[in-house]
């Protein structure tokens, strides 16, 4: 029972990261029809940014917690700025040319990983976090690493604030309307392109948060971490239904929990295969994912 609980909480922690990445991907795709392959780069900007600020800017701060929080904040800001710039400089000029937009993000992801390797090498960098995060809390006999709680709580906060933002603010309304019918929003005289940059920046922050949390989860940051997480986020987005935040959240949990359970109860690696199998089954039964948004209609 305690093993099962540990697996569940760890699975939820992993699902939290998948959701953070998938939510941005899903919003960007839903609004703009862009499959953002550079999302892995956004994750890396968050994790490497936090690591760099922590090692170079805040190395004088004595409280490790404060140092971690401050550098994470700057890491998130870097993620948002980077993502916004990518939209403005690389995506916007190719407006409506979806294939070229995908290609550009592919090129960016490859060049960016190579740049990280060139600057900081292939070796993982240790990620300094408060010791408390690596201690365990005992719940019903299960020793659960504390960072899992942080991951779950962060994702829950992000999910809640995204929903609030999308449902209660004017910009959220524009984005939701844009996902439904972009042409009509434009016809009403609203500049949808501002929403594009905004959605990219939001996706960049969410991915950067995932980057920081992955640094905590894996204890270090390395150049290809972002891309590896991205693949499962893609699976989550397709299973959840492109363009749906709620769908992404549910799918993230299903994928991560399935992965954890089968990796433990069957054998390591089987979980990853089962997730892909799950994707195949979902596509055969419901090609549009759980949430049933229109998949592929814009491509």
């Amino acid at each position: 029972m305690s093993t099962f609980l540990l697996l569940t909480i760890t699975g939820l922690g992993l699902g939290a990261m998948y959701f953070l990445i998938a939510s941005g991907l899903s919003l960007i795709y839903g609004l703009m029809g862009v499959l953002n392959f550079a999302h892995g780069a956004f994750i890396s900007v968050g994790s490497y940014g936090t690591w760099w600020f922590s090692a170079n800017l805040f190395d004088g701060v004595h409280s490790i917690l404060l140092r971690w929080l401050l550098s994470s904040l700057l890491g998130l800001a870097a993620g948002a700025v980077f993502a916004g710039l990518v939209e403005l400089v690389l995506i916007r000029p190719l407006y409506t040319r979806h294939m070229e937009q995908v290609l550009v993000t592919v090129g960016l992801s490859i060049a960016f990983v190579a740049l990280l390797q060139g600057i900081w090498g292939n070796d993982p960098k240790p990620f300094v976090v408060p010791a408390w995060l690596h201690e365990t809390t005992t719940v019903a006999g299960a020793h659960i690493p504390n960072d899992r709680w942080v991951e779950i709580a962060t994702a829950a906060v992000v999910l809640a604030s995204l929903q609030l933002f999308l449902r209660r603010t004017r910009y959220g309304l524009v984005i939701r309307a844009g996902v439904e019918n972009r042409a009509m929003v434009q016809a009403l005289g609203i500049d949808v392109r501002k929403a594009f940059t905004l959605v990219f920046a939001i996706g960049g922050i969410a991915a950067a948060i995932a980057g920081v949390l992955s640094g905590v989860y894996f204890n270090d940051v390395s150049p290809d971490q972002g891309t590896n997480l991205l693949i499962f986020a893609f699976i989550v987005v397709v299973i959840g239904g492109l363009g749906s935040i709620g769908g992404s959240a549910v799918a993230a949990l299903v994928v991560a929990l399935t992965q954890q359970y089968t990796n433990y109860y069957a054998s390591a690696g089987v979980g990853d295969m089962v997730v892909v199998l799950l994707l195949g089954l979902v596509l055969l039964a419901r090609p549009r994912g759980f949430a049933g948004a229109v998949v592929g209609a814009r491509a």
Partner: protein, 364 residues
């Protein structure tokens, strides 16, 4: 068949492949391009890799450039060729040709099944689904549940099972010729396929899938066809890869492996046979040689901030790729046709004369 058609369709490719085939026997030495003489094993290995990637890029172009299918999982089928042929001879002690037949059969069947499943979704979702399937293959090769692939160590081929002509450093020339023969084979198969009537439908799907459906044809059936042909050819390329590198490593299973094929095709020119081949050859050559540029004395003298990116071939190739997407949508072969579209069109008209035409038309 008119004489011009003969020249265009057969003479040009045969001359190009003939010249490439003669390269190892010419005993050239081009110090600027290659460190060692061209016929030395080191250079032959590089050239063989270039030619092989030209062929692999062409198999990818068949689904991407000609049919409009953006797959991120092409590496899966190459990896099947690389691994399965090797597992058959090294782990199961089969003969080489049994291994080849078995590998091709498995690749063909798998491409049919996975092609059918992934065609359930279109466009971008298709890209993600193919990526996921390839990732499953990558995990399988890494975790190695049956002790066949040897995970991160890679699987060295049992050389006693390989054809004698392809074993040993002195036979690198033969590997080059093998890669070149494979390229020529893929080239003519792709040309035959895209000019057949299903091939025309593939290109129509790329242009406008809805219209194809409205005309009463079944786009999905044709897309699976293109996917299966492309994937099976890729598995064949995987076998050549296994011979060229004397075994199998995880590099071919990585998602980035497909992305490099995409880069090659777009850099050379998507939807063009020579473009894909040129892109594959050029990319592989640059990826190898830019490392040398990065450690050259000119770059050593540069400040650190400039030097770091220049030492990373993939960074440079990624940037070149982005620039080509922005400014040269036709790829490198697009340059050739850019300045003189009317001339090219005239040429094409001349190549395919109307049968009813009795007198040559005068130029306006």
């Amino acid at each position: 068949m008119s004489r011009r058609l003969l020249v265009h369709d057969w003479l040009i490719p045969l001359v190009v492949f003939g010249v490439l085939a003669a390269v190892p026997e010419l005993h050239l030495s081009i110090p600027k391009l290659f460190d060692q003489p061209v016929s030395s094993p080191g250079t032959m290995q590089l050239l063989a890799a270039c030619v092989l990637f030209g062929a692999l890029a062409l198999t990818y172009d068949l689904q991407f450039g000609y049919t409009g299918l953006l797959s991120f999982g092409h590496a899966l089928y190459i990896a099947i060729g690389v691994y399965l042929s090797n597992i058959a001879i090294t782990d199961w002690h089969w003969s080489f040709w049994e291994g080849v037949l078995f590998t091709m059969g498995v690749a063909f069947m798998l491409a049919n099944v996975l092609g059918f499943v992934s065609m359930r979704v279109g466009g971008i979702a298709f890209a993600m689904v193919t990526l996921a399937f390839a990732q499953a293959g990558a995990v399988l090769a890494l975790k190695d549940p049956h002790h066949w692939t040897h995970g991160e160590e890679g699987l060295g081929a049992d050389y006693t099972k390989l054809p004698k002509a392809f074993v040993g450093i002195l036979n690198t020339k033969n590997l080059y010729w093998l890669a070149l023969a494979f390229l020529a084979f893929v080239f003519f198969v792709v040309r035959w396929a895209v000019e057949s009537s299903p091939g025309r439908v593939w290109q129509a799907i790329r242009e406008n899938e809805q219209r194809v459906a409205v005309l009463g044809m079944r786009p999905n059936l044709h897309k699976v066809q293109a996917f299966v042909l492309s994937s099976t050819l890729a598995a064949g390329g995987g076998i050549v890869y296994m011979l060229l590198y004397n075994g199998s490593t995880l590099a071919v299973t990585a998602p980035n492996f497909t992305l490099t094929l995409l880069l090659m095709v777009v850099i050379g020119g998507a939807g063009s046979r020579w473009g894909a081949v040129l892109g594959g050859i050029l990319y592989t050559y640059l990826n190898d040689r830019l490392v040398a540029v990065g450690s050259s004395s000119t770059v050593e003298g540069l400040p650190h901030a400039l030097r770091t990116p220049l030492e990373q071939p993939l960074f440079l190739l990624g940037v070149i790729f982005i620039l080509i997407v922005f400014f040269l949508p036709g790829g490198l072969v697009g340059i050739a046709s850019r300045g003189r579209p009317s001339g090219l069109r005239r040429l094409q008209d001349a190549i395919r004369p109307e049968p009813t035409l009795t007198a040559p038309q005068e130029d306006a």
